[in-house]
């Protein structure tokens, strides 16, 4: 359907007037009292002020985000298992192809880095990859939660919480260490133990990368003049790219170190 030049001009004028009115309204109407940027930044790192009540104890919003993300992923997996997988065909359609590509990528990553033992590793890096990617993108949705002080906060990425990042790093190192002991015996254990800095580096890499994105996003959203156009660029740079990069880095590191620690050594 094509519009005439006159109709196009009228539509453009109406659109511009509405946008200008909204802009004036945003500027003139007083907003909710905001916490200072310094406090917001500090809370973004430490999660000391804005805490959420959970079963009688106060937890950081990152933990709530982790539960929500996991719940969504489990619901998604159950729905796929019940409704999609039984209808898989020899020649895959679009959604089946996406699932097969994801599973194939992570199982291939595991097989490539740990050719001898990779069944468990494939499942682990698949889960870790899905969790890191989805939980990083999760902050874009801006799901709100109410803090113990009655303030509304947007749920952050779970791994932007230091506790979530440490849990991820330590658990990945645990998988590498335990698999090294089981499959690589003493040599595998030594291989894993000599990289004792791995859990710290993994944890703080995740934490630093995701926190930096969260802080920049907070900073941008905090000031009204920066809230137009710029958020879309920031969201892509600090959220979508972080999701891809951190997923790749974490799963790659876990695969490589897992492969080293469980490697079968032949006697010379």
């Amino acid at each position: 359907m094509y519009l005439s030049k006159k109709k196009k001009a009228v539509s453009a004028v109406i659109f511009a007037v509405i946008a200008a009115l909204l802009l004036v309204g945003i500027i003139l109407v007083p907003g909710q009292e905001k916490e200072p940027i310094k406090d917001a930044m500090k809370d973004g790192v430490l999660h000391e002020t804005n805490r959420i009540a959970l079963f009688g104890s106060d937890v950081s919003p990152g933990l709530i985000s982790a539960f929500v993300v996991s719940g969504l992923l489990i619901l998604f997996a159950a729905a796929v298992r019940i409704f999609v997988i039984p209808r898989f065909t020899e020649i895959p359609g679009g959604f089946q192809l996406a699932l097969e590509t994801a599973v194939g990528y992570f199982s291939g990553l595991a097989r490539q880095n740990s050719p001898h033992r990779n069944g468990f590793l494939g499942a682990y890096v698949f889960t870790a990859g899905c969790y890191v990617a989805v939980s990083t993108v999760f902050e874009l949705f801006g799901i709100q939660a109410v803090t113990t002080e009655g303030r509304s906060v947007s749920l952050p990425a779970p791994l932007a919480d230091i506790n979530g990042a440490i849990a991820m790093g330590v658990m990945s190192y645990g998988v590498i260490l335990i698999s090294g002991i089981i499959f690589g015996k003493a040599r595998g254990a030594v291989n894993a133990l000599k990289d004792f800095s791995l859990p710290i580096s993994m944890s703080f890499r995740l934490f630093g990368a995701l926190l930096s994105g969260a802080l920049v996003t907070d900073l941008v959203y905090h000031y009204l003049p920066l809230s137009f156009v710029l958020p879309s660029v920031v969201a892509v740079l600090f959220t979508l790219l972080h999701a891809i990069i951190q997923t790749y880095v974490l799963t790659m590191l876990v695969s490589v170190f897992y492969g080293e620690s469980t490697e079968a050594h032949k006697k010379a």
């Binding site: 790192v45 430490l46 999660h47 000391e48 104890s57 937890v59 950081s60 933990l63 982790a66 539960f67 996991s70 992923l73 489990i74 997996a77 159950a78 796929v80 298992r81 997988i85 898989f88 020899e90 699932l99 097969e100 599973v103 194939g104 992570f106 199982s107 494939g122 499942a123 682990y124 698949f126 889960t127 899905c130 969790y131 779970p158 919480d161 230091i162 506790n163 979530g164 440490i166 849990a167 991820m168 330590v170 658990m171």
Partner: protein
């Protein structure tokens, strides 16, 4: 703790991830991987079967090539044998022809010799007869002339008397 690190929350994050891991493994990763592996296995099986059939076809072709080669060798041997046989037969025929030719020549020579001898004999006989006849003729002519002369002489003498 520094940086607001909380062991309890770390453990809660871990529990959350373990539950997520178990759920995703059994609900998503394992069934999709199994489907992909089964499909790959079926494709590999089909590929192996096709390879096996191809190998059989190649073997059959190689067998046919061998049989063809064998037949070629047999045909070559038969050709060589036939050629040798034909050469032998030809040589025999040639020898026989040569012998027959020699015989014909020999017979012709003998016949020619006989004819020559016969001719010579006949010629001698004819010559002898001719000679006798000539002599007889000559003798008869001389006698007649002598007798004539005698008669003439006698007559002359009678006339003179």
């Amino acid at each position: 703790m520094p940086l607001n690190i909380d062991i309890q929350q770390i453990l809660l994050h871990m529990l959350n991830f373990v539950i997520l891991f178990a759920a995703l493994w059994f609900l998503l990763y394992k069934p999709v991987k199994k489907f992909m592996d089964d499909r790959e296995a079926s494709y590999k099986k089909a590929s192996d079967e096709a390879g096996e059939k191809m190998k059989k076809a190649d073997d059959a072709l190689a067998g046919l090539d061998g049989a063809l080669e064998e037949k070629k060798k047999q045909a070559e041997a038969e050709r060589t044998a036939l050629l040798a046989s034909a050469q032998t037969a030809c040589k025999e025929k040639l020898d026989e022809a040569e012998k027959r030719a020699e015989q014909i020549v020999s017979d012709a020579r003998a016949e020619a010799e006989a004819i020559r001898k016969k001719a010579v004999s006949q010629s001698s006989r004819d010559i002898s007869e001719l000679a006798v006849e000539s002599v007889e003729k000559a003798v008869m002519t001389s006698a007649e002339e002598a007798f004539e002369t005698f008669l003439n002489t006698v007559e002359k003498e009678q006339n003179h008397e």
